[in-house]
Amino acid sequence: MSLDHRLEAQNLCAGYEKQAILENVSLTLPAGKITAIVGGNASGKSTLLRTLTRILPTVSGSVLLDGQSVHTMPSRKLAQIMGLLPQSPIAPEGITVADLVGRGRHPHHSLFTRWGSADDRAVDQALRATGIEKLAEREIDTLSGGQRQRAWIAMALAQETDLLLLDEPTTFLDVSHQIEVLDLLVDMNTGRGTTIAMVLHDLNLAARYADHLIAVADRGIYAEGPPSEILTESMVKAVFGLESRIITDPVSGTPSMVPLGRHKVISRPCSRKIA
């Protein structure tokens, strides 16, 4: 279904004129895959995501979608290919779930087109895919955090883009809702071939759910690749400044990071003892 759109950054510098947050970043989002961007607080991972989606201007360098600069692309055309779920979207007071999800159809309309059956179908599918069809008539303000986040994802789904970027989609959700949202994104990825990129705080969930991991540190990309190669003790040390052990997640077989703090550690790994 997906046309495998290619989103890439070339020698990207982003942030502000005087203070660069990212310098000389070049990357390509693997088409049809799930990419997770990880990094410490204020490392620039959100800046990276927001610059890729044109919400922030570039200081220098370029962001290319299928070889064309996103900054010269008509907004509506871009919005038909690439969707974004920002970190803290605003729901107008009193808006219902169905109404909010319907907003996702905006880029598919011009001044002279009317709401049609294709829009009904897209909204319907989005509601069903996110499991909130029964909440369609509820007002957003009355939903729980997890339900609300699913409504926002449904809006992005109704936009029917081949690329979807999400800025910390699991923040403020409890663990079961986090899993729910991430499972939903995998559904979208495998079901429709949607290319997904998201900023995630939880390293272990990132390693479990992403096909491709980008670790951001020191104003650039520290490492990128499949989680099994990227999530290592030295990466965690370099990116987060934290000693850790990497074990294999018994459920998914992906690498999983166990932090080593100063307390509550029964046995330190040999290599660290010597140091």
């Binding site: 974004l84 001044l111 909204v123």
Partner: protein, 346 residues
């Protein structure tokens, strides 16, 4: 796989029902406007038979009704109608754009600046007609951008923008009061028009520019309405949906200031109509669908009803602005109290 396309089941989702409700509300509001317009034409100090009003309107003089209807009541009703539509539309455009019901042009100083500029143009510069309206529009835009600048306002309106606006509003009101004092040839009625707003003694030649502004700027808003609606989801989401936030804000500001300034330079700043229309319409609609036309019609109802009750229902004959002001002030207090509780948006 939950994504798999297995639909065919008819959609029972509420979009249609919401539309039905907004259609009903729009019809009721439209009916209210027509009723009040007709009431203004037929009833005054003495009531005329509807047939007499109609024949007078179509040029057949019947028992002196022609003067009363064509020269007194029709211009007054027309002025109430178009200024009400302009204030309602301009007001709600600001409130929606800034995501705050307190950010209406009459609270943040746009109406005050248009009024002060109009008075200045008439008294000091001895101008009249269209030029006055254009001066008012320019002043309104200047004040709008000054407020944006002073509150470093991009995006939603925080308390800061509102407070800056209230300050500027008070300053400009005093300018208006000063100029009125310097214009000794004006009587109390004319002065009141510029202080609170009045449609007393309206002429059709004064209605025309406001009507033209309604068509031009209202048309601009109609084009921008979809983007404005998406802007309510926040700048980032709007951009993700292909809407340029800054461009939309510029168009909406221009159109809303145009509407409010043209109306103000004809009728004076009719108190609180711009401020009241949007929230009232929003409560009637229960959703955000069709808020712009609903608020415009609500504005027309407020002015028509306010003027009619000010003339004939209350013990003293009051200009419309005094009536709408008396209704609006308690509502302002209510919104401020409520905004403190939940930061309320429109």
């Amino acid at each position: 796989m939950s994504i798999a396309i297995t639909h065919a089941a008819p959609r029972t989702v509420p979009r249609r029902r919401i539309n039905r409700r907004s259609a009903l509300v729009l019809c009721l509001l439209g009916g209210g406007v027509i009723f009040l317009f007709a009431l203004t034409l037929t009833c005054g100090r003495g009531c005329l038979a509807p047939s007499a009003v109609l024949s007078a309107l179509f040029g057949h003089d019947s028992a002196g009704a022609s003067f009363v209807v064509n020269d007194l009541r029709f211009p007054r009703a027309a002025m109430s109608l178009v200024t009400g539509l302009c204030f309602g539309l301009g007001g709600v455009a600001f409130q929606v754009m800034l995501r705050n019901p307190l950010a209406s042009p009459d609270i943040v100083g746009i109406s005050a600046s248009a009024g002060a500029a109009a008075v200045f143009a008439i008294v000091i510069l001895s101008l009249n007609g269209w030029i006055v309206s254009l001066v008012a529009v320019c002043a309104g835009l200047m004040v709008a951008f000054t407020i944006w600048g002073l509150s470093s306002g991009r995006g939603g309106a925080g308390g800061r923008l509102i407070l800056v606006g209230i300050g500027i509003s008070a300053m400009l009101d005093s300018v208006t009061a000063y100029i009125i004092l310097e214009a000794p040839e004006w009587d109390r009625v004319e002065a009141l028009r510029w202080l609170t707003g009045s449609v007393n003694g309206a002429q059709l030649t004064e209605v025309a520019p406001v009507f033209a502004a309604l068509v031009v700027f209202g048309g601009m808003l109609a084009v921008a309405a979809r983007d404005l609606d998406v802007l309510r989801l926040g700048d980032d989401t709007a951009r993700a949906l292909g809407v340029g936030a800054d461009k939309t804000r510029l168009v909406v500001t221009l159109a809303a200031v145009g509407l409010v300034a043209f109306a103000t330079s004809a009728s004076g700043p009719i108190a609180f109509v711009a401020f009241l229309s949007g929230p009232i319409a929003a409560r009637l609609l229960g959703s955000s669908a069709a808020i712009l036309p609903a608020a415009a019609l609500t504005g027309a109802i407020l002015v028509l009803a306010g003027d009619f009750s000010g003339q004939f229902l209350l013990p003293a004959r009051l200009p419309v602005g005094v009536v709408t002001g008396a209704v609006g002030a308690p509502f302002l207090l209510y919104l401020i109290v409520r905004a403190n509780k939940n930061g309320g948006s429109l």
